[in-house]
Symmetry: C2
């Protein structure tokens, strides 16, 4: 059923807007995603919004109808309120509120994919979302976040993921629990590091590969590197000694994929 | 000579702060770069700041002395003013004002490098800076910006470049002028596109390769694609049909580099 909400002071407007803050996302177990394309992809992946907000011109859009039917509550609202909800001057005409999708490590089925991405203390939401997007592209199973990473359900991370937040499993863990879980089954843990001479194109990667990337400015802790089966690095021909974290992850992920599809 | 400026209303503070806006950068031909590491890399590349701003604790830093000696004017200031200049809550303790480094296409020596990156209507400053950073890493000669791209000298782009703004040539051009220039000498123009079945690992790239990447949401215009020697695409195994623009450029750039170093 489609209801109309046009008052800025409506408590529901305030509540949905508050999901831009991590504290409120944790309290409610909900997060925001914007844009018809992303919401449609989520639905195709079997994930319906709890709440749907749309501007009037979208009401009869062919792709909006299935979203309205699938969600618990749908609200017709103004562009101004959508702008307030999303925090953007030019908001998308459709916004969804979703249940957070954290998966416990123990329930992760590693045999579902040949590539898994593991990120440690990743700080930038754009990097996190971009890594999810690359994960989707290379057929990864999901992203395992180690220690204190930026929130994968922030508006910025969800936006950068371009819908991959709905197709990639997202797990939050600490290092010890992750390594304990990893060693209970098959899996090659490959870390990207400056502390090796091993070129990333040299080794033959083994399925499933767990590709590990460290914090943007500090890289991986030494003892985490010691837990890896393999450390590799990318050639750096210029003045800088590192790549952007999402770029490094993606270059690595495509090398692994290229080996597996040869 | 090191002078002290601590007043927020000092006209020089206002003038430097105004360089956060494109209009003022164009008027003055100047831009901002932050952080001791990046400023030191610039100096090593032979580029000194016109003005240097530092917080008191940096005055006697070993790496700051050469910067003070190399620049026209050095100012000791407060963290609050550095915060105002850079627009960040936690500003870097060193900030430099540099002359914009646009290079005319006509003076570009293509024989200087085996890889050149060409970006068309790139909109995101983070993507632009990240592409510069990757360009540095793969030994590219520079970045050629086509049509209406985001400003490479914005604070965000410079920050994301991590110093590569000083080591990569930056050229701004329109498509026709670029293609005319390109065809006057050797160079394979390779576009990334969804409109091809050619996998990006299949062709043998020819030196120098000009790697062309299109607008984040629209990709390349059809007639630009028609001007390319080669169109290639990356495998996309998931739901999404594209990668982040900086990621796509970087995955391509490393494939080209890997071929050249085999």
């Amino acid at each position: 059923m489609l209801r109309e909400i046009t008052g800025f002071s409506n408590p529901l407007v305030k509540r949905v807007k508050s999901l831009r803050e991590k504290k409120h996302r944790r309290q409610e177990g909900l997060f925001l995603a914007e844009g018809l394309r992303i919401l449609t992809e989520a639905l195709e992946a079997g994930i319906a919004p709890k709440m749907l907000w749309l501007s009037p011109e979208m009401k009869d859009h062919r792709l909006v109808q299935p979203l309205i039917e699938a969600c618990d509550d749908a609200f017709l609202t103004s562009a101004d309120i959508l702008s307030k909800l999303s925090g953007k001057d030019n908001p998308q005409a459709v916004l969804g509120v979703y249940q957070e999708l954290n998966q416990p490590l123990a329930t992760l089925d590693r045999s579902r994919a040949d590539i898994w991405i593991v990120a440690e203390r990743l700080r930038d939401p754009g990097n996190l979302g971009t890594i999810l997007r690359t994960g989707d592209a290379v057929g990864a199973g999901g992203l395992i976040l180690i220690d204190d990473c930026t929130d994968p359900f922030s508006v910025e991370a969800v936006r950068a993921s371009m819908g991959a937040i709905f197709t990639q499993a997202v797990v939050q863990s600490d290092w010890r629990s992750f390594v304990d879980w990893l060693r209970q089954g098959p899996g090659q843990l490959v870390g990207t590091s400056l502390n090796t001479d091993q070129d990333y194109t040299t080794p033959r990667y083994a399925k499933p590969t767990f590709l590990l990337v460290g914090n943007e400015s500090q890289g991986l802790p030494q003892d985490y590197e010691a837990d890896c089966d393999l450390l590799v690095k990318m050639p750096m021909l210029g003045k800088a000694d590192s790549l952007n974290a999402a770029v490094a992850t993606s270059v690595m992920a495509y090398e692994i994929l290229n080996q597996f599809r040869r």
